[in-house]
């Protein structure tokens, strides 16, 4: 499902296995648990990399599980359940007291893309993998916190429109050009290497984690409000 390891100052959260890493309630709970652990064990100079094995970063909510409810009403209920369970995962990432990087080596679709987008930096493959919000194609609407995430994380209105209203399947080079990801590399190893490199460089700055989190929340005030994250005014006499 997912694992957490430590490598020096780095926390590495891995979605394991060759499958689509669908976010069903179990996986969502595991993610939340591990991220809470990261938060608890954070120190000055920590950083998080979220990565996945195989061809997929994540293909989003488990729609099969939703439909297995047997009725339309049941499916909607299960979908809502997953959306509600997922919200704290995003909230935890948004308030994580350290820089965060998503190392996207496979397809990041729907809630999978959302998870990636909740990180401070996105690094992606150029040669494989897409970012895709298929909701418009499958006639699903987005929960308010996901709309808020896209609004505040993606500054360019045309890009947001192309991703959400046009269901664009965005490859690495376009994502890099249009500012959706920080950088795109050819090859899985290159992405992982670049992510570790970035994480280490950011870690070296030895930022005060809680202040970092507060500044991050300040960048995304509407999203923070929707996620129920309060904003603390910090004054640290370090001068």
């Amino acid at each position: 499902m997912c694992t957490l390891e430590m490598r020096g100052n780095l926390f590495i959260l891995t979605l394991t296995g060759e499958d689509r890493h669908l976010f069903n309630p179990d996986l969502i709970s595991s993610l939340l648990k591990l991220l809470s652990q990261v938060k608890a064990q954070a120190t000055c100079g920590s950083a998080l990399i979220t990565q996945a094995q195989g061809k997929f970063f994540s293909y989003g909510f488990d729609l099969d599980w939703a439909q297995a409810a047997g009725s339309e009403q049941g499916a909607v209920k299960r979908l809502q359940q997953m959306a509600d369970l997922f919200k704290p995962v995003i909230a935890t990432l948004l308030s994580l007291p350290m820089p965060t990087i998503a190392a996207i080596t496979g397809h990041a679709v729907a809630a999978g893309f959302t998870l990636a987008l909740s990180h401070d930096y996105l690094i992606m493959r150029k040669d494989r993998g897409i970012l895709w919000m298929p909701e418009v194609d499958i006639a699903l609407t987005l929960p308010d916190y996901i709309n808020a995430l896209f609004k505040e994380m993606i500054g360019d209105a045309s890009v947001r429109r192309d991703l959400l209203l046009r269901g664009l399947k965005m490859k690495g080079d376009e994502a890099e050009k249009r500012g959706v990801v920080k950088a795109a590399y050819d090859g899985e190893a290159e992405v992982r290497e670049a992510s570790v490199c970035l994480a280490e460089n950011l870690g070296k700055r030895k930022w005060h984690g809680e202040v970092y989190a507060e500044i991050r929340k300040g960048l995304y005030p509407q999203l923070s409000a929707i996620l129920g994250l309060s904003h603390k005014v910090y004054a640290i006499a370090r001068l």
């Binding site: 499916a75 006639a139 699903l140």
Partner: protein, 237 residues
């Protein structure tokens, strides 16, 4: 005024009339809003709408001649406010239209005409002989909130400032670079045909109109809040 043509899955809204500037007065506003109601009523899965115009202008904004022809200062203000109200209704009508929308800007667009273009999901423009001009600053006219929200929703970064605060007459290539338009074309025929082509491509995605609207509303949530329209949350896959 305007006419609505149906071509297969496409609705083609054509700004017509002897008034070559296609200035927005109560008649043209009513005409457009009525056409949009018809398109909404007749919409199916895989519908799309493209708005086209002919001649030197796409739309040169409010009919200020009509506004100023009023008998008194008070009535002039009333007429202007009426046009603002109509423009707001126009924005509402476009946001609630259950299909992708494209504006094929064949000529100049100013003030309300720019708003009209930006009401669409996608804007195509002519490379030459066509400028987007928010003349409001130069005329000393404030831009009221729902339209400011539209600009905030659709245009990002320094482009927004350049469009609104700099009184620039923005030509095709510039508009493209600023991210205001998707593509530019040489010639009126080309931009019109490309608009129709793009509408066709989007129509082929066969989107469910009602969900398309909800996703659009979610995308432009601040604007919708200001306009007072709510969006529905999750629905069945």
């Amino acid at each position: 005024m305007c006419s609505l043509e149906k071509r297969g899955n496409l609705f083609i809204l054509i700004l017509t009339g002897q008034n070559g500037e296609h200035r927005l007065n109560p008649n043209l506003f009513s005409s457009i809003i009525s056409a949009l109601s018809r398109a909404k009523a007749e919409s199916t899965r895989g519908s799309a709408l493209v708005t086209v115009s002919h001649g030197k202008f796409f739309c040169n904004g409010f009919d200020l001649d009509w506004v100023n022809a009023a008998g008194s200062d008070e009535e002039t203000q009333q007429r202007f406010n009426l046009l603002l109200d109509y423009l707001k209704q126009l924005v509402l009508a476009f946001i609630s239209l259950p299909m992708p929308t494209i504006a094929a800007v064949n000529g100049h667009a100013a003030a309300g005409g720019v708003v009209l273009a930006l009401c669409h999901d996608y804007v195509l423009m002519r490379r030459h002989r066509s400028v987007l001009y928010m003349i409001d600053l130069d005329l000393g006219i404030k831009i009221p909130e729902p339209f400011m929200a539209l600009f905030r929703a659709k245009i990002s970064g320094s482009a927004r400032r350049d469009l609104l605060l700099r009184g620039l007459k923005i030509k095709g290539e510039e508009a493209l670079k600023m991210g205001i338009v998707e593509a530019v074309y040489d010639g009126e025929e080309e931009v019109t045909n490309s608009g129709i082509e793009m509408a066709d491509d989007l129509a082929k995605r066969n989107w469910h109109g009602e969900f398309y609207v909800e996703i659009r509303k979610g995308l432009y949530s601040e604007l919708c809040d200001i306009l007072g329209i709510a969006s529905k949350a999750i629905a069945t896959p």
